[in-house]
Symmetry: C2
Subunit: 343 residues, 2 copies
């Protein structure tokens, strides 16, 4: 048989369909000291929380974006997570179970990425919580400037800023803030955060073992989504420094004015190497210097991928000075790196 250069190589998944249940079992077992997996319906809980925390922080969403969300379970970040199937919203029963288990004396805060299915399912869970006498509020993360268009009623997608929102809310919750204060903070952090993503190769479909979409040679998808949503346009690939400058033009233009240095997230979309991501951060940091923006701290790594897509996103958050302690507060989770004091 002739060599078939088109074979991308399927993922290493169990043979019997849904890859999420075994991954949840493996995750819970590998991090047994930090998290607990409960079934029927599946949800994950952090084993430890700060005594001063009055509000349970609950997130969730489709799988395939790991370490988001379950990797950020633990003291200083999330209390519970509802994991959906790959790229599919969790069922509202999962969100409800996670919320009930995680609720603090002041109730539950839902951190929701802005997708219709997630909004609906967290919304139904919130209504059922209300009927059960458990207070809840919602923080909607909608950072993706590629979807910032008057043409759509759904608004901007939620992507890698979710990690920033979850970290700051976690620090603030540990400081004892109440439900309304946290909901307000989350909304302000989301409003201060913008992202943009590009890809040179689609994620491998778990079903076919092939790329989920095709790109022309020499083109990139400019404004790709974390579920493989195509961009408004594929564009000829510019030199990497020019690409970074163009992305930062778009992201900084959408950032609110005001005091505060910027948090930077250089996020791999799955198949992008640390060699690339750190090289990109070198370009980003230099570019921000030239724009007169000071980096408060940086996360460089794979935090919110789209399975194994080759690509990256850039996120900036204008970090208000009063939020800084919540960024620097410890987080004891499977995946959040310590704050690095980037320069």
């Amino acid at each position: 048989m002739a060599t078939d250069r088109t074979t991308p190589g399927g993922p290493f998944l169990p043979a019997d369909g849904d890859p999420v249940p075994p991954a949840l079992r493996g995750f819970a077992r590998a991090h047994a000291a930090l998290v607990e997996l409960r079934d029927d319906p599946p949800h994950l809980l952090a084993r430890d929380r700060a005594p001063a925390r009055r509000v349970g922080l609950v997130s969730g969403g489709g799988s395939g974006h790991e370490p988001l969300h379950a990797g950020f379970l633990g003291r200083g970040m999330l209390d519970a997570v509802a994991p959906g199937k790959v790229f599919a919203s969790p069922h509202n029963r999962q969100v409800l179970a996670a919320s009930r288990a995680a609720a603090g004396p002041d109730g539950v805060l839902h951190v929701v990425k802005n997708y219709t299915g997630d909004r609906i399912n967290f919304g139904i869970a919130a209504e059922r919580l209300r009927l059960a006498g458990i207070a809840s509020r919602r923080v909607l993360v909608d950072d993706d400037v590629a979807t910032d268009s008057a043409d759509t009623a759904t608004g901007r997608r939620g992507t890698a800023a979710t990690v920033v929102v979850e970290k700051l809310l976690g620090g603030a919750a540990d400081a004892g803030l109440g439900l309304d204060e946290l909901a307000d903070l989350g909304a302000r952090v989301a409003a201060a955060s913008r992202s943009l993503a590009v890809a040179s190769r689609a994620q491998t479909s778990p079903h076919t073992g092939r790329p989920a979409f095709d790109l022309e040679p020499g083109e990139i998808e400019y404004g790709v989504g974390i579920h493989g949503e195509r961009a408004a346009r594929s564009v000829p690939r510019p030199p990497t420094a020019d690409l970074v400058a163009r992305m930062l033009d778009a992201v900084t233009a959408a950032l609110p004015d005001g005091p505060g240095d910027v948090l930077v997230v250089v996020n791999g979309l799955g198949g992008t190497t640390p060699l690339e991501l750190y090289g990109l951060y070198d370009l980003v940091a230099g570019d921000l210097d030239r724009r007169g923006l000071t980096v408060a701290d940086a996360l460089v790594g794979t935090f919110v991928p789209a399975l194994d897509m080759a690509g990256f996103s850039l996120t900036l958050t204008r970090l208000r000075p009063e939020w800084r302690p919540w960024w620097d507060a410890p987080a004891v989770t499977p995946a959040f790196p310590r704050a690095n004091g980037a320069a």
Copy 2:
């Protein structure tokens, strides 16, 4: 132009050739609180070390395996790293500079993966250190059972067990062990560690933007190396559970007898998702249970990749009970996860 499904999508690298210098700059800037980059020749230093540490721990090797080694710089692990070009040994001048900067009162211990170029360059550096009056010893990591053959004079390749060796040596060095004690410990940990790797897609060449080798549809490379070294054979891909069982047959057969539970590393080769890696760990943990082997702890993630290769390796180390405190000791580095207490 017709869609060309063969285009894998090139990596996001600077246009001007060597991707390593910008990645080193970006890494040092992103982790400025933890590490320092020095030039001429390039090497990286940890900013902090335990007061009781008497021996500088120095490693290095080709780039493209990040987070190895620089991600493990910091208190509790490595003191200095010499990064080579992609998949190429560092120059002995780099090793020498790293060693001089990191040497403790008892000298320097080199952690070297078993490749000819690395052995030569660390060896030349060791000779120059001797002439300068600085004591050094070497720990050779050679865990890859795919290369365990009487046919080769070079011996087994060094792969993901390097992380285990570096963690245990770091803990022991912080406890004040001397150079000979650490060299002996490192040799014993290496001897207690075995690995095996498989791939379904080669890494993308930074030069061509294409897979470095081709696989037939439905085949996997059984026994692949972390530089894209082809296996002795490509094999039809078995169901994932059967593949894991076969790999563990080979790895456990090569493990020394004796007391001690096993440390497990499920290591992604770059383009393999956490969904896959945790699903694999679920299979590995179940399989080890059936073999009567108890898991002491597990690392599941991408620690020693081959750029963006789609594949994974399994590493087992028979953890002697007296080594356990060095495994559990804190490590404050960019990339080592906290010990998770896997069950």
